[in-house]
């Protein structure tokens, strides 16, 4: 039987038959359906995925007219940063980096971000960030977000003033760990609002809360409250992007609008993000490096399709290294990236990437 080139979740090239791929699509979609308690992909969806995977061209694309809007995380770090942000180390200023994205990469939107890319360290240098945003707004035509991670981890010892849940919980100090997290939430909300409001005054079009939930349900709670405040008190557009496919319960009992945050999957996350008032939601589905890309992408598309169907706001799925069905590999394999693009747009029906 004819074999097609495809990839594993770690990027290794493998050959699979159409039957083998279909089997992995089925297993992947069933895994998502079981975990998220959502519908698996239809046979029609699976057949279309197979068409995408058995296209022998290296690159695939959506049909003309199906294009979607792209929003970008990590700002210009991918140009001048180091490998941690997939940066290629070109010595450019951030303003130049924005110009490169607008005029060389034809980005639909872009964002300004700080080298640490977390809200907390921006507070003491907010004037510099405002100045940079003001200058960028003079020369940019595309909408510019200010982007940063809520990163509640920075509020715990040794980086912050509060006890670290990772240290406290193994000692059985669950109540103390929870109290430390609750205190961190309050401080993070204040910092995120302060920074966002200052960026609004500097002309930012929006704020991108990137990798929300990276430190668990505390991250999500702080973000939702900050978003709620910003949408009530400013005209900022707000994008909330996630860190993982379900909200980790590091606290476990935190709620927003009466809903427990821990354990929420994308189709449930989006309802709270909408409730907080955000304009765009960026769900994440993690890639399993030991499974094939067929398994991973079918699984990711299943979660995202359910999220798109549940949403009333635009969904910009996260499709970067190790998420959205794309392999975990520092030099993304173009065949995989473009297949994930096409599947997310034409099967999951996302509004953007």
């Amino acid at each position: 039987m004819k074999k097609y080139l495809t990839r594993m979740g770690d990027g290794q090239r493998v050959e699979m038959t159409a039957d083998e791929m279909m089997k992995d699509f089925e297993l992947g979609t069933q895994d998502a359906a079981r975990r998220g308690k959502i519908d698996p992909l239809t046979q029609e969806d699976l057949n279309y995925l197979l068409e995408i995977f058995t296209d022998t061209n290296k690159i695939v694309s959506v049909e003309p007219g199906n294009e979607v809007v792209l929003t970008h995380d990590i700002g210009t770090l991918r140009l001048m940063g180091d490998q941690c942000n997939s940066g290629v180390g070109i010595p450019l200023s951030r303003i130049q980096g924005i110009g490169v994205h607008e005029r060389a990469f034809a980005a639909d939107t872009f964002e300004l971000g700080h080298i640490d890319y977390s809200f907390k360290p921006v507070k003491p240098i907010i004037s510099m960030e405002q100045q940079e945003m003001e200058t960028a707004q003079l020369s940019a035509i595309i909408p510019l977000f200010y982007g940063a991670m809520p990163n509640l981890g920075l509020y715990y010892r040794p980086d912050g003033p509060f006890g670290n849940p990772s240290d406290l919980m193994p000692l059985g100090k669950i109540q103390e760990a929870r109290e430390a997290q609750e205190e961190a939430v309050e401080h993070a909300i204040r910092d995120m609002i302060y920074i966002s409001e200052k960026m609004f005054l500097a002309g930012a079009d929006g704020i991108n809360f990137d990798t929300t939930g990276a430190a668990g349900d505390t991250d999500m709670k702080a973000t939702l409250h900050a978003v709620e405040h910003l949408k009530k008190h400013t005209d900022l557009s707000v994008e909330v992007g996630m860190a993982g496919e379900f909200v980790l319960g590091i606290h476990g009992a935190l709620e927003y609008d009466g809903v427990r945050l821990a354990g929420l999957y994308p189709h449930q996350q989006v309802k709270l993000v909408e409730k907080a008032g955000a304009d765009i939601f960026g769900p994440v589905v993690n890639t399993n490096t030991g499974k094939s890309m067929a398994w991973n992408l079918a699984r990711a598309v299943t979660f995202i399709k359910a999220c798109v169907e549940a949403a009333n706001i635009p969904i910009h799925v996260n499709v970067g290294m190790g998420v959205g069905g794309i392999p975990v590999f520092e030099t993304p394999c173009i065949d995989s990236v473009t297949r994930a693009s096409k599947a997310m747009v034409e099967v999951a029906k996302v509004d953007g990437l």
Binding site: S166, I174, L248, G322
Partner: protein
Amino acid sequence: MSREELFEKAAQSIVDANKDAAVEIAKKAIEEGIDPVDMINNGFSEGMSRCGELFDTGEMFLPELIVASDAMVAAINVLEQAMPVDSRTEKLGVAVIGTIEGDVHDIGKGIVATMLRVYGFEVHDLGRDVPIKAFVEKAKEVNADIVGSSALMTTTQVGQKALEEALKQAGLRDKVKTMVGGAVVTQRWADKIGSDLYAENATEAVMKLKELFG
């Protein structure tokens, strides 16, 4: 109450993280003459397995998992009184675990450490930003069976390779199993640096180590 009913109640007491109920069921099992080892394997351990599955699917969370593990320990303490000394449960292995120097991301590593404790390993968690030397010294000090390292970034991932070398130089490499994890780490990387184990997530880490040491 039948054996099967007691097993089920024991498992459920762990899933419910109900320490009092777990202890009561353990006492009841002794009264009814049920083999304590059977009670642990078919009842309480089954409950922990279910907790692992629920954690993996986001239906149970870290604090609950820790309380469930406390309930399990309390029940086992009761059952052990009715067991001959030589058949009492022992720790599955001694693990030294930490995040590689230069990397302050320790949430995932913390979950792995907690899960290992929950499932009966003795865990020495060195925390985040841990120098290679500290892994080696601790492994020597506690006579470790497992040395686990986590790296979120490709820039710190290389420290896992250095750890393999340092363990070899200290003459410990043949005595311990090494395990690597973290967002950017893959089976391919584990194979490349000669690590014994790679796990995609905390649940898989526990499953693989239980298979090796259980």
